[in-house]
């Protein structure tokens, strides 16, 4: 399969005033990833592990400190210089809070026709309106005519998140980055939104990066999963490999602490020491060293390399 996006050694540091080396916030700290066409990659991590920064880097809302992102083989800096609209059209983002996503002064018609106008799709306002009505009905907002004159505050969270998904799909992008798209929604609505997202991506062959802290939901939606901890990917592999054959202690901790809806399923939760730390002054050893239940002396000295476990499954730990 062809890879759509390739990330090499992607790094984002936030450097405080005075350039104090000890206090650099290493939000994303050297990530290598690639996403194939039509693939859904899930990214899991605790709050503060840099997963949202990664998403913002990918849609060029932030500039990386080092490293490169290649979109269809071409570095995105080059694409942005030569053909900005092409990149913006093909890389779309869905944010966590649908109420913060839209300008409250614009109605749904304006919200959805603006991107079409910008990218010169549809010859007249009426034609563009016809396009959005067709897409809205496809995504389950029926009758769409009743909705297009409403404002964001007149819709429920679930409906508005659907509009957000519709907006991202309108331009037929090649990559969608969904940053916690369902964590604000009620459970009964969540399943619908996830299904719409999955159906649309499968139908149009779109690749997606699904960022979440919810392991069960991510497993449901993704083909491949990457686990992040303090700005680094600690384990990556197919969903089955990650859930059934997790190798990194941190992945094991996350999975064992994921509560089930089955009251009979008693899992032995793996305990970790301490609290999720901040990405300041990390290293030189393994970042998880202090909280790890398997740590040994070697872990303190250098950061473990990614180990190839076959079948696209990689983990970075000395104790595999």
């Amino acid at each position: 399969m062809d890879s759509l996006i390739e990330i090499e050694d992607l790094t984002k540091w936030y450097i405080p005033k005075g350039r104090n080396e000890d206090k650099i916030i290493k939000a994303v700290d050297g990530i290598d990833l690639s996403i194939n066409k039509g693939e859904v990659l899930g990214i899991i991590g605790e709050s503060g592990c840099g997963k949202s920064t990664l998403a913002r880097l990918l849609v060029a809302l932030e500039k990386p400190t080092f490293g490169s992102i290649k979109f269809e083989g071409i570095p995105i800096n080059q694409i942005l210089k030569e053909n900005r609209l092409y990149f913006k059209k093909n890389c779309q983002m869905i944010f966590q809070d649908p109420f913060d996503t839209f300008d409250p002064r614009n109605n749904i018609q304006k919200i959805l026709t603006t991107p079409l106008k910008t990218h010169d799709i549809g010859s007249s306002h009426k034609k563009r309106t016809d396009i959005i009505i067709k897409v809205m009905e496809e995504a389950g907002i029926k009758p769409a005519k009743d909705f297009i004159h409403r404002y964001p505050h007149e819709l429920s969270g679930g409906q508005l998140q659907r509009i957000s998904i519709i907006r991202s799909m309108l331009l037929n992008p090649k990559l969608i980055i969904a940053d916690e798209p369902v964590s604000m929604l009620d459970v009964s609505v969540r399943a619908d939104i996830i299904n719409i997202l999955l159906n649309l991506t499968k139908k149009h062959g779109v690749s997606m990066i699904f960022i979440s802290h919810d392991i069960a939901t991510t497993c449901y939606i993704s083909d491949k999963i990457a686990i992040m901890y303090l700005g680094k990917v600690v384990e990556i592999g197919s969903t089955d490999d990650i859930i059934k054959k997790a190798k990194h202690p941190y992945t094991k901790v996350l999975i064992s602490n994921c509560a089930s809806i089955d009251p009979f399923e008693k899992k032995d939760k793996i305990k970790v020491k301490g609290e999720p730390p901040t990405p300041v002054g990390t290293g030189p050893g393994c970042y998880f060293y202090e909280r790890c239940y398997k740590s040994c002396n070697g872990c303190k000295e250098s950061y473990p390399e990614m180990m190839d476990l076959g079948n696209g499954h990689y983990a970075s730990c000395f104790n595999i």
């Binding site: 429920s156 459970v187 069960a216 939901t217 449901y220 859930i243 901790v253 509560a259 809806i261 009979f264």
Partner: protein, 320 residues
């Protein structure tokens, strides 16, 4: 006699134009040393219920009818002074953002001493300190926290402080209103374990309000399912969550993806939550229910009592 008996409780919010019935004809018995989880989507009235039990709702805009008997005393008839004595000493509550109510300009220890002295003005300094350190041990905080300011703690640690604070006067009833929702999976799992362990030694009844069924499944004995202010189903966790009788409970459980086991399709519940300002002469869930029959739209279902304290409010019970 049950520790807390709620009888035909109605809580109505009054606005200029309409009345919103947030809790409707709600009855529930909570036995001493029970752990009971109340689940429902946003707008189901679960937080209103918690606030109503402690009479924390604004008097001017809310109307409460019915009975809330705590140890046989009707809380709704108590004077403000008597209620003040009862709150925190007998019934305490931890909210989702309880940690935000810690004062940023005082040390944790000072704030806890202050709160301890409200109900026990004549204790010596050593006693207070001993009690607080004992509580720290309960919730797995180090003694160091005593001299720290809230901003020096992580979210999980602050929520632990909130839980420690709520236990300071050995309350009989502890209400946790989404107390672990904002935390990471690993931290949430650990705090839940700590709460359960801590209950073994104390005479404590726990009421856990959450939208996350997995939290209830892993930490509670009984569960109550609320929808639109009504109780739809209640009973022991191993009955209700394994073999749900109410279509809403079934729908809710089908909306949760499972981490292990076979991958089944997620099904949400179509539609959105009911408008609580309307008078319902039908089953409140009827218009979203897949199994609804004629009778569901004509009559409010009575709560049927099955063996093993299992209550279900559905017309179709037994005759699907």
């Amino acid at each position: 006699m049950a520790l807390l008996e709620i009888k035909n409780l109605n809580i109505t919010y009054k606005t200029d134009k309409k009345e919103i019935k947030a809790v409707k004809d709600f009855s529930l018995d909570v036995e001493a040393k029970d752990s009971i989880g109340i689940v429902g989507e946003s707008g189901s009235g679960k937080s209103t219920l918690a606030m109503g039990i402690l009479k924390l709702l604004p008097k001017e805009t809310t109307k409460i009818t019915g009975k809330i008997l705590f140890n046989g005393v009707d809380l709704l008839k108590l004077s403000e002074e008597k209620l003040r004595n009862l709150r925190w000493r007998d019934i305490s509550v931890v909210f989702q953002k309880s940690m935000n109510s810690l004062s940023p300009v005082h040390k944790i220890g000072f704030q806890m001493e202050d709160i301890y002295r409200v109900h026990e003005p004549n204790v010596s300094d050593e006693e207070v300190r001993k009690r607080i350190l004992e509580l720290f041990k309960f919730v797995n905080l180090s003694d160091r926290v005593y001299t720290l300011y809230p901003h020096e703690l992580s979210g999980g640690m602050m929520q632990r402080v909130s839980i420690a604070l709520s236990l300071i006067h050995y309350p009989k009833l502890l209400i946790l209103d989404e107390a672990t929702t904002a935390l990471d999976v690993v931290t949430q799992g650990q705090i839940l374990d700590e709460i359960m362990k801590l209950e073994e030694g104390l005479d404590l009844t726990r009421m856990m309000i959450t939208h996350d069924i997995s939290v209830v499944a892993s930490s509670c004995k009984k569960v109550v399912v609320m929808y639109g202010g009504c109780l739809l189903e209640s009973g022991y966790v191993q009955d209700v969550l394994i073999n749900p009788k109410h279509p809403y409970t079934q729908g809710l459980l089908d909306s949760f993806p499972a981490l292990t086991g076979e991958k089944k399709n997620l099904r949400g519940i179509p539609g959105s939550i009911p408008d609580l300002s309307l008078e319902y002469k039908s089953c409140i869930f009827a218009n979203r229910c897949k199994k609804a029959r004629d009778i569901c739209f004509k009559k409010v279902p009575e709560t049927k009592i099955l063996p093993n304290e299992w209550n279900v409010a559905c017309h179709l019970l037994g005759g699907f």
